[in-house]
């Protein structure tokens, strides 16, 4: 037995010395405790990138546009049923598991985290200010849609539930954050870097909508808030940095970072560098037989289209730009596409997949059942397609804040404080620039229409319709909805895990 003990001891010794500590060694990622080489600039790029998902024709965009009176995603026979998700948005019959409503909430909060994370890595004063601006923007967007904003203060312990900022608490927080970082933000430079004027536009948005955040069903707009909007607008105007573009589509062109004199805050898109899905704007409307071949989806409603004058640049035009196709027939290639469409290289008339003329109809229904269901609905192309990067990352920067919005927000604040004449001057300045005749007078309805004509498909329509009290009314292809639809539901997946959230009324 003696030598058995020897062997046993030897065995255990061998086993013992071959023991390892079982520490993970990372090779393609950096793990906690090994992040000293991370620079805040690298995290800041990620924070900017995190806005691409929700904003650039992403889930946030869908929740603001597909729910409104300027966009429709018709079910086209075998296409676009998608389990009814688009019809839910259009008809205000969404539930707490609606795909885009869930995606926007999660995407924006994820962006909040990315922004907050920059602050953990000893950023410079400006980097910290940019990150806090991005964070404020996401908080504002969640507040606007859901009223409740989970806000995580301690980024290191995920087990601590984020506190919930509700309603005015959230808007006050955004205001205090923006004021705190204002001086550290740059006053000049590219629009895709957070800047003082961008922060001021965001402040204007908050003040303008504060009455809504206080009482969404019956908002009261406080004169002090309106005066804040006017003051901030005047400060931006006084910088003389911005002016209205003479050619409307320069604002959205592939080289809009150079051409646009209006853009105050944009999301950077550059082929081979970084950016978001700006070409989704084209794909989501473009018919399969157009160039680029798209998914033949969304359209606008004829009632909305009819708000435009024929001479309005914003309704559409032949836009000649460096990254365009030859377009020998000088066909309309931006704006609202209605009627026969053409090959922009050869000028041949296009057909649909069944060989019928590719001619977009004015009329559109939420469920298309006719034989022409491929071509129904007026298509909307606001961002001129970057044919220089066909099917690749396009260069058009995504516009979030621009000068025309500053002007029209100021006009609205004037109107809401009784200065209709002041408002009319601003509105008519804009209208003339866009190639239409000035109005004789302006009231809230006219202003909402003007905002629609100016900012269609830019992601403001839901907010505007709510602020102007039109949201719950019936419109073309949409029945009247009840007051619970002023807010989106808290998505069920977050409600299930976050005890600090309560479901919004009516869901």
């Amino acid at each position: 037995m003696k030598h058995i003990k020897f062997w046993l001891i030897l065995f255990l010794t061998v086993a013992f010395f071959s023991c390892t500590k079982l520490n993970e060694r990372f090779r393609s990622e950096l793990e906690q405790g090994n992040t000293s080489n991370i620079t805040p600039a690298q995290l800041l790029i990620s924070a900017y990138n995190s806005l691409n998902g929700p904003f650039q024709t992403g889930d946030l965009w869908h929740t603001q546009e597909q729910t409104s009176d300027e966009t429709i995603a018709p079910t086209r026979g075998p296409d676009w049923d998608d389990n009814g998700q688009w019809r839910m948005l259009q008809t205000h019959t969404w539930n707490d598991n609606q795909s885009q409503i869930r995606g926007a909430f999660n995407g924006l909060l994820s962006a909040q985290f990315a922004a907050s994370n920059v602050l953990q890595f000893s950023p410079s004063a400006q980097q910290a200010a940019e990150a806090r601006f991005i964070r404020a923007l996401t908080i504002y967007a969640v507040l606007d849609g859901y009223d409740q904003v989970p806000y995580r203060e301690d980024l290191t312990n995920y087990k601590i539930l984020p506190k919930t900022l509700k309603g005015l608490e959230a808007s006050d927080f955004v205001v205090s954050e923006l004021n705190a970082v204002m001086n550290d933000l740059p006053s000049t430079g590219a629009a895709y870097v957070a800047n003082q004027n961008a922060a001021k536009v965001l402040l204007m948005k908050i003040y303008l909508n504060k009455g809504v955040y206080a009482n969404r069903a019956a908002p009261v707009f406080d004169a002090a808030d309106m005066n804040q909007v006017i003051t901030l607008a005047d400060q931006i105007i006084a910088t003389n940095k911005y002016s209205l573009n003479s050619v409307f589509y320069d604002i959205f062109a592939p080289d809009n970072d150079v051409k646009s004199t209006e853009n105050i805050f944009t999301l950077y898109n550059k082929a081979g560098d970084r950016g978001g899905n700006v070409q989704g704007c084209t794909f989501q409307v473009s018919h399969y037989n157009m160039n680029p071949a798209g998914w033949n989806g969304f359209a606008t409603l004829s009632d909305f289209y009819d708000k435009f004058d024929a001479i309005d640049q914003r309704r559409g035009m032949y836009y000649n730009y460096p990254a365009s196709l030859p377009n020998p027939g000088k066909r309309q290639n931006v704006g609202f596409l209605v009627g026969q469409q053409y090959n922009l290289t050869t000028d041949a008339a296009l057909s649909d997949r069944k060989g019928n003329p590719l001619s977009f109809t004015r009329d559109v229904k939420i469920r298309e059942t006719g034989s022409n269901l491929e071509v129904t609905g007026i298509r909307v192309l606001k961002y001129p397609y970057d044919y220089g990067h066909l099917n690749d990352q396009n260069d058009n920067d995504w516009v979030i804040f621009r000068y025309a919005d500053v002007l029209l927000m100021k006009a609205e604040a004037l109107l809401r404080t009784g200065d209709a004449a002041g408002a009319l001057v601003i509105v008519n300045t804009l209208r003339v620039k866009r190639g239409v005749l000035p109005l004789a007078s302006v009231d809230l309805n006219a202003l909402l229409d003007e905002r629609g004509r100016e900012f269609y498909w830019e992601g403001w329509r839901r907010q505007d319709q709510i602020r102007f009290g039109k949201w719950l009314q019936a419109w073309q292809e949409k029945p009247a909805s009840d007051a619970s639809h002023l807010l989106f539901p808290i998505p069920s997946d977050q409600l299930a895990v976050n005890a600090n959230l309560t479901q919004n009324p009516g869901y």
Binding site: H3, I4, W7, L8, F11, V14, S18, C19, T20, L22, N23, E24, F26, S28, E29, L30, E31, Q32, T35, L43, I45, S46, N49, G77, P78, D79, D81, D82, N83, G84, Q85, T93, S99, L109, S110, F113, A114, S116, N117, P150, Y151, Y158, P162, A271, D273, R274, N289, A293, W295, R353, K354, G355, E368, T369, G370, D392, D493, Q494, V497, N498
Partner: protein, 987 residues
């Protein structure tokens, strides 16, 4: 290939002619006491080196010198026997202890036991019982062969992925495949085969040559699997490869040639039917052609154009032999399996060496040395399910307008005609213009010295290295009218490599302590490391110069390029384990096992998991009151309890991590320091019995498996990095069921044998304690964007269907009617089979033998996504539709939107004639060619089912958010029916 075949036939004929007058032939059979034929018994001439082995029917035929007087018959575990052959030419030998030998040894992991000492639920399938035919991976050999084991060939793609579930699906999120162990070497479950856009993954076991496999043991309950600790929860499959046998070198050669065709074609409209339907729907006439709109005036069958009668060839040769002190087996295999879709197939070359040596005068030192080398080459067509609305190759062929030519008139090239619709892709173009190849090289080497310290105590070391290198090249020609590739072209190259190592130290103690009391114990230490990394490059914008784009990527444009690389965190698993089997009087058996597993993956608060099990068994037949009975030959009652684990979550999940984007860094997750394995606690009760001279034997098992600490990637409370966090759920998944296995020897005579066997399993599964619900089962196709059809939610079976309820077509409008207008979705049944069935039978009469194997699954629902979104009525006028849409009482409107609903949810019940084989044992041809056996085998002969898709045996990968799906069919690579002829002989 024909030449090779010709050569083999010539060779055979040549051998016929050889005969030697000074020899004579002895034939005979070797049987067990019970009359069961004993295969693989060694028959040698005493005093001569001549030797043969018995075939599967127990017979042999040996040429002996005229002077030979005696034959020696030997069989593993039996006393060898000598029989006199003076003046007799036919002998029948009964091996006295053969019955024991047959059931004797079962491999159980880190050792083996006599079958009667087993306390756990272990199914053992030996080579002679494997499914017949040509298979690419070992899991296919046991489909339908063992109770409680579900094997699904996910698609018909040669070398394609399989789904293997032992006793149901116990994990919601992490891997559910069992642990595979090849000759003491545990496999990682992964593969270095890079992913690509042609398919949905391959079978990581394809590197094995099924011809090298001697037997497969399936460990099912915790008593059996707990020795594998944190990897045992999904069951363990032990693969034992063939070994050389003592004696003169024997060369075994086998070859087979087979042809395959599509098992089932989906019924779409012929050109004439299409025209009639266009007329019925009043689509109108095209003024230029004078024909109906959508009628191009021709007649083609696109599905026929992309499919073919495919040839499969398989050749194997093995040399085995040796002495008491050194045995070896060297084998080589070649498989060339054409796919039934043109331009697809699998080629595999394998070489395998196994050797066993004994050293020292005392023979106390021994050494096993095994090397396996494989190369697989796959040619893959565009058959992935992850496609947009333009579909994959199979969808494109099904949808092709049957009135439009595939080839441009007067040319031999695919016709890309905008007239059929810009989004309609010509399947012939897809076939020719998409190119996807995967090559994987595998080397597994293991060296295992063992030293007998005493007669009872042995130390053994296993060191193995498993290295795989994979490469994939993909391209899409710029001519293909695929959105994104047209006029640009696309090419990508991906490389992956993985290296896994193993060091296992074990001490085995096996001693008859008293005459009544036997102890068989093992303790061990194991250290496994896993290492995987890869790179990829992709680019666009090529011109056609007659070369493959992926061979000159530098031509591409800068903006279109994408590159990346990854190296998984090094993963290590360190374990300590022990097992003791106590046998008292052969009546009472107790097995206790424990394993402690430590893994780099686990969170720092839970570095080690402990997995105990205990099993008891009572051999009732050893009791005095049964010892002398003639009815019951064996009756054993088993009971076991134990815990096993599952640690299939990605490395790094327990730590906060920061990942890299282009010039940017972002936090990619929150780490969970408490993260650990999930635990399955299994209780098993079973009875093994054998009655009527072992004519009827079987087993019944009941199991209850509760999985707790369920690994799950839960939605994280936002704001957070990523959307999810790996946690151990407070809830549980319960799988319970009953398994039956029955084998009957209906006829057991010296020249005729007939056995039938069957197994059935009844499974039930439910999820509890999940917070909220999670969606999976991604349904795809036109009009099916962002649609999931399955949920994981408490109180329902895993992956329960959640769909609109279809109530028929509206008579007035031809539109679908759904319950509650389609605004409500309903729980609509489970995709998990309630019953699995396997049936097999073998028959032999003299030199003829026959075998059939059938399997089936019952009680589950399959979503026919192919019918739902590929062949819907909306295609009419541009593309083809399913025949089944027509002929109903209501004419469906062309504009009726296809929607994920119960309309396409079908019962998945089926029973399949999986394979059948008849063979004839020719015996010896002359002096040199022995044991010639020829066979004809059919695979996938027919399916009995009401399911309307290609094949109810299907599992298209429709996982979402990392949660696997089950029971979706979406334009899979179609299943094949194969007929083959095979020849085996020895030299």
């Amino acid at each position: 290939m024909r030449q090779k075949l010709l050569l083999s036939i010539t060779l055979m004929c040549f051998c016929f002619l050889q005969s030697f007058a000074q020899q004579r032939t002895i034939t005979g059979s070797v049987l067990t006491k019970e009359g069961t034929p004993l295969s693989d018994a060694s028959v040698t001439v005493v005093g001569d080196k001549t030797g043969v082995r018995t075939g599967s029917d127990g017979t042999f035929s040996i040429n002996v010198p005229a002077t030979a007087k005696q034959l020696q018959i030997s069989y593993v575990g039996s006393e060898s026997q000598k029989v006199t052959i003076i003046s007799i030419n036919k002998v029948t030998v009964v091996m006295e202890t053969a019955a024991q030998a047959l059931e004797n040894v079962v491999v159980i992991g880190y050792g083996s036991v006599r079958k009667k000492d087993l306390t756990g639920a272990v199914a053992s399938v030996q080579a002679k019982d494997f499914n017949k035919g040509t298979y690419t991976a070992p899991d296919q050999l046991i489909q339908g062969k063992a109770a409680g084991v579900l094997v699904i060939n996910n698609t018909g793609q040669p070398g394609g992925a399989t789904t293997v579930r032992i006793r149901g699906t116990s994990s919601i999120r992490s891997g559910n495949q069992p642990l595979f162990v090849v000759d003491d070497v545990p496999l990682s479950g992964g593969s270095a085969r890079p992913g690509g856009n042609g398919d949905n993954g391959g079978n990581p076991l394809t590197f094995m040559n099924p011809n090298d496999i001697a037997g497969i043991e399936i460990l099912k309950d915790a008593s059996a699997t707990a020795i594998y600790g944190s990897r045992g929860a999904n069951g363990v499959v032990l693969i034992t490869t063939k070994r050389g046998k003592t004696g003169v070198p024997v060369v075994d050669v086998s070859g087979s040639v087979g042809i395959s065709n599509v098992l089932k074609k989906l019924e779409v409209l012929s050109a004439n039917e299409y025209r009639k339907t266009l007329a019925d729907y009043n689509v109108g006439t095209d003024s230029t052609t004078g024909r109906l709109k959508g009628d191009f005036g021709n007649s083609v069958d696109a599905f026929d154009a992309i499919t073919r009668t495919a040839l499969t060839q398989s050749y194997n040769a093995a040399v085995g032999g040796g002495t008491e002190n050194g045995r070896y087996r060297i084998s080589a295999g070649y498989l060339d399996q054409q796919g039934i879709i043109e331009n697809s197939g699998l080629k595999k070359v394998t070489a395998n060496l196994t050797s066993n040596f004994k050293f020292l005068e005392s023979k106390k030192l021994s050494l096993n040395f095994n090397v396996l080398v494989t190369q697989t080459n796959e040619e893959i067509v565009f058959g992935t399910a992850g496609v947009g609305f333009t579909g994959n190759l199979i969808a494109q062929a099904l949808q092709w307008n049957p009135t439009h030519l595939l080839k441009k008139p007067g040319t031999d090239s695919a016709w890309i005609d905008p007239a059929v619709g810009s989004t309609t892709v010509n399947p012939l173009a897809e076939l020719n213009y998409f190119n996807d190849r995967a090559t994987v090289n595998t080397v597994i080497a293991s060296v295992s010295p063992a030293y007998k310290i005493t007669n009872d105590l042995e130390y053994k070391l296993v060191y193995s290295v498993n290295r795989q290198v994979g490469n994939r090249k993909i391209q899409t020609n710029r001519l293909l009218n695929d959105q994104g590739s047209l006029d640009r072209g696309f090419a990508a190259v991906r490389n992956e490599e993985q290296t896994n190592t193993q060091i296992t130290n074990t001490l085995n103690f096996n001693k008859q302590i008293t005459s009544d009391f036997n102890l068989n114990a093992v303790i061990g230490h194991e250290w496994l490391t896993y290492d995987k990394r890869g790179t990829f490059e992709g680019a666009q914008d090529f011109t056609n110069v007659g070369l493959n784009y992926y061979d000159y990527l530098q031509f591409s444009t800068q903006n279109s390029r994408g590159v990346g690389s990854f190296a998984d965190p090094t993963t290590e698993l360190q374990s300590f384990f022990g097992r003791a089997i106590i046998n008292y009087k052969d009546k009472y058996l107790i097995t206790g096992t424990i394993r402690a597993d430590g893994s780099t993956r686990f969170g720092k608060n839970n570095k080690y998991g402990y997995f105990p099990s205990v099993g008891v068994a009572w051999n009732v037949t050893q009791e005095d009151f049964l010892v002398n009975n003639s009815l019951i030959n064996n009756l054993k009652v088993r009971l076991s309890w134990g815990k096993t684990g599952n640690q299939e979550f990605p490395s790094g999940a327990s730590l906060d991590r920061f990942g890299f984007g282009q010039q940017s860094i972002s936090q990619s997750n929150y780490g969970n320091a408490d993260l650990k394995w999930e635990t399955s606690t299994t209780t098993n009760a079973g009875i093994d019995f054998s009655i009527l001279n072992n004519r009827l034997s079987g087993a019944i098992d009941y199991f209850y498996k509760k999985t707790t600490d369920v690994l799950f990637e839960q939605n994280i409370v936002q704001p957070a990095p990523g959307g999810k966090i790996w946690i151990n759920l407070p809830g549980n998944v319960v799988n319970k069921g009953v398994e039956l296995m029955l084998t009957a020897g209906l006829i057991r005579k010296s020249d005729m044998n007939w056995n039938i066997g069957g197994n059935a399993s009844f499974l039930q599964n439910s999820v509890n304690g999940l917070v909220g619900f999670y969606e999976t089962g991604e349904l795809r196709g036109q009009g099916f964007s962002d649609v999931r059809g399955q949920r994981v939610i408490s109180g329902q079976p895993l992956n329960v269907w959640y769909l609109r309820r279809f109530e028929g077509l509206d008579k007035a409008t031809g539109q679908s009617i759904y319950s509650d207008g389609g605004n409500t979705l309903y729980y609509s049944g489970s995709p998990n089979p309630k019953m699995l069935l396997g049936l097999s039978s073998d028959f032999s009469y003299k030199k003829f033998s026959a075998a059939v194997n059938m399997n089936g699954t019952f009680g589950h629902y399959v979503f026919n996504n192919t019918a739902a979104s590929v062949l819907g009525i909306g295609n009419l006028g541009t593309r083809n539709i399913a025949k089944s849409i027509l002929g109903g009482s209501v004419q469906e409107a062309i504009s009726n939107a296809p929607a994920p609903s119960t309309r396409n949810l079908e019962k998945g019940n089926y029973i399949k004639m999986a394979n059948a084989s008849i063979g004839y044992r020719i015996g010896n041809l002359g002096k040199d060619i022995k044991n010639v056996y020829i066979s004809v085998t059919g695979q996938n002969l027919f399916v009995i089912t009401k399911y309307t898709g290609f094949d109810p045996e299907v599992n298209t990968d429709a996982g979402f958010g990392g949660i696997p799906s089950l029971g979706v069919e979406y334009v899979p690579y179609p299943s094949a029916r194969t007929f083959q002829i095979g020849v085996n002989f020895s030299l």
